[in-house]
Symmetry: C2
Subunit: 396 residues, 2 copies
Amino acid sequence: MLFETAEIERRIEGFRRLLKDESVPCEVTVIHHLADVFYFSGTIQDGFIIIGSEGDPLFALKRNVDRAKKETPLKSVEPLRRSGDLRDFLLRACGQPPRSVGMALDVMSVLEYEKIRRLLKGAEIVDVSSCIRKVRSKKSGEELELMRGAARIGHWVYEKAREIIAPGMDEWQLSATLEYEARLKGNLGIIRVRNRRLEMYFGHILSGGEASLPSYGDFPTGGAGVSPAFSQGSTSRKIGSNEVVSIDTMINNHGYLNDQTRNFSLGKPPDILRRAFDLSLELHELFRRKALPGTTGGGLYDEIMKRVSATDLAPYFMGYGQNRVVFIGHGIGIEVDEVPFIARNQKTVIEAGMTVAFEPKFVVPGVGVVGIENTYLINDHGAVSMNISPEELVVL
Amino acid sequence: MLFETAEIERRIEGFRRLLKDESVPCEVTVIHHLADVFYFSGTIQDGFIIIGSEGDPLFALKRNVDRAKKETPLKSVEPLRRSGDLRDFLLRACGQPPRSVGMALDVMSVLEYEKIRRLLKGAEIVDVSSCIRKVRSKKSGEELELMRGAARIGHWVYEKAREIIAPGMDEWQLSATLEYEARLKGNLGIIRVRNRRLEMYFGHILSGGEASLPSYGDFPTGGAGVSPAFSQGSTSRKIGSNEVVSIDTMINNHGYLNDQTRNFSLGKPPDILRRAFDLSLELHELFRRKALPGTTGGGLYDEIMKRVSATDLAPYFMGYGQNRVVFIGHGIGIEVDEVPFIARNQKTVIEAGMTVAFEPKFVVPGVGVVGIENTYLINDHGAVSMNISPEELVVL
């Protein structure tokens, strides 16, 4: 099993406490989103976890019950033969038909919702996604260990990049090779996102001036990609001298992600990118000190923006012109878009135990992209990087 | 551009005709799901396509307008600066605030829906997902060409598998190598699904008795995988002699998918799997003849099941015991779970131009999985495979 009984119990208790603290009016919660099921059970087997206000949760599975029994410390694991049986499980959990049921409405489609409503005849369905996201945002020691494992795979990829980047190699070939290396080290490959509009595959391996092309994704870097069907990331462009290569990778180790960006150049990089790189490092230093429990995502965003605004590099920060994104960091764990967001107006309060990918990047049109990204753990004294790759701009 | 003006116009006219034929009560449709945006525009840039009952659609983009202008033949391409501006675009499309707006509610979350409802103040939101899915189910010559390109990449992977499978090689290494080869040939990697509960990465490369382990996915084959966090697909198991290796790959060529399964064995395969393989081929033959326009997905399912039921292999078809899935084929194109489904009780009428991955497979507990899968085009005389790899059980 990936997680022990006590660990899973703590997660469930943490969630119950949040529901209580925030006076969420629901008698029982049904966890249905796969990433949430994984969090509360330790297995991605497909089913519903029914969490009442006390007692053991019931894990009712569509498939596969036998595997779930082996993979989860939850005690009550049973088959869900027909969707209609969900009603009986809720009856068992509550002693009577519940009047209010919590579900994650940020990830439930309208058609699914209508089906569930008919099934639950008159019970009110209450959105509990903010409590789920909040309890998930603070990682346990066990979760951090898996995230550190992901960082180690990311470091392996970094070492390989350092070894193989050479003049005339094309980005696409470089990306394919790094993907292969990551897979050999156990990268699960799949990148779970909560927001369906975020599409990702492995990362962004970008070089030179073309790297500055913005994409359809809510990312600071884009890249042309090789098709209008997935227009982001690498192309068959040859890597040249005196330009920056940005290696942004997303690794999945047993369900937990690591996001890392490192920069290389063949020969001296363009001056403006070197200066921007140095500023990126300085912003990391600032983040490490300022990301203290009690600050907010918006407060941190403002703090960083203030520093950048005092420089002539401000126009290039986090994208150029209309294409600037309004965040500099995002929570990360099982999904890539967890809370908190280090973003404009974000009220989320930073707490010890949260994990954030912080990515101050600069996009200089026609010249390139540059900037370091680390996955950080927040503790009582600031942020500590879980990434172990050196942060220098590697000149090859 | 991936598609010409006339092609995109035909798609939009096809959709309008369906709305009319099915008397869907909506004045205007807002296309928002990325895969649908790609279908109606030829680009995956992120925005809303507003399709009124006549005239040019309006493409209002969050990001990136400049790229969209280069990538789509749609004439009206404009920035959407704030979500609230969607209301103005609808006003322009309809001449007055619309009373009813069509959207794809199978892929819109409840929270997004509530936001849109507030925005559209009193307009009724009507689900048009079935018309979108229906128009997308029949492929044009241009779409088929891209799907054939995906089949060619799948064939390349097959050739590589044939070349490299050797005793003692582990599944995981084999999968990583085939992924790498597919990427070098242009596989976009990303696998778009409509149903969020389907998680996929590259495919299922499985061997021997362990291949028969069912997974959490609604697939006939599962596999153990290497983690409870993504428990499907390959493990580090060494491929042995006299067992079947199943190479099930999903390739994305410019947004269009190919699904293929081929089987190998090192030395003589187990008798029961050889017999099941032969039956799988026979079921393909049956499908090719019987998948005629006018039949239904459910009718075809019954026809195939009837043939299988007459054999002693019936208990192993499409999974074993409780783990049997109730489909044998699925529509495929931009997404892996398109209509029609060749599945129990499916009323969808098969039409010429539809594309279906047909995968009659057998899962024999402790012995292995076997079965061929092709991506078929339905024409007036039956189904024609787009896959070009030989269908034999390759004995190495």
